[in-house]
Assembly symmetry: C2
Homo-oligomer: 122 residues x 2
């Protein structure tokens, strides 16, 4: 396909700050119906990601600290990247979402396996 | 494509019984690296589904009962169904997984948007 990240991405991304409580993260997932929430600074710089799987981990290991359950080494993509490359990155790392960032790590959007899968629906 | 559910599905599905604790569900998600767990009877009949999003909901609403957070009206598919139809069902209902069942509601496998997205990776 000729489809790029920017053609598909959700650019109205729900985000959270690193001092948030786990309840805040859970409430945001409920109200926005999402499972992946980038963690950003006040100027929207990406510093991590927290997902419903991470919240499930907090139940498994009985830990209530966002800092301990979030992922800090985030795999990302650029807005001009082809979706085949994005799909490959997600497959290789067993992840379901890639935040889209610019060269200064500023968050521009998010791509998920849901959106890519929707391309095949008839 | 000519791809059917049975060509793609994971037929080694992690499942849980309805009397499980939320910690059991969370532990199974961690050990199997999955986010969707069908709830079945002793003879593998599908009676519900619980996902990482549902465990996140348990944090948001402070509820520790599997019975209250699991989904009982499960959208499913058959093993001979085309993946385009499966992708459409998931898009229409905003869900990321469809359990594959036979005519007697016996669980045969599971399909996720991750697996469908992987088809596009180069
Ligand atoms: C290895 S995946 C397995 C479960 C499922 N595939 C998923 O993506 O949630 C779960 C972990 O991946 C992390 N993760 C999700 N998206 C990520 C990304 N873009 N970069 C790095 N880690 C990510 C989450 O924080 C979580 O700890
Ligand atoms: C509406 S989705 C929104 C978040 C995300 N798309 C996901 O699938 O987790 C979350 C809810 O869908 C439910 N769900 C997931 N797969 C389902 C299926 N095959 N049939 C019915 N409900 C399902 C879950 O139990 C959860 O309560």
């Amino acid at each position: 396909t000729n489809i790029l990240a920017e053609d598909l991405m959700d650019n109205n991304v729900s985000t959270i700050k690193k001092d948030a409580q786990l309840e805040d993260v859970a409430n945001l997932m409920m109200s926005e119906h999402v499972t992946h929430i980038p963690v950003v600074t006040d100027d929207n710089k990406l510093i991590g990601i927290v997902t419903a799987w991470d919240l499930s981990k907090s139940i498994a290991i009985n830990c209530s600290s966002l800092n301990q359950i979030m992922t800090k080494n985030v795999i990302t993509c650029k807005s001009d990247e082809a979706i085949e490359s994005i799909a490959r990155k997600m497959k290789e790392s067993d992840i379901s979402c890639l935040p889209v960032v610019n060269d200064n790590s500023i968050l521009e959007g998010i791509i998920t396996t849901d959106q890519i899968s929707h391309l095949l629906s008839d």
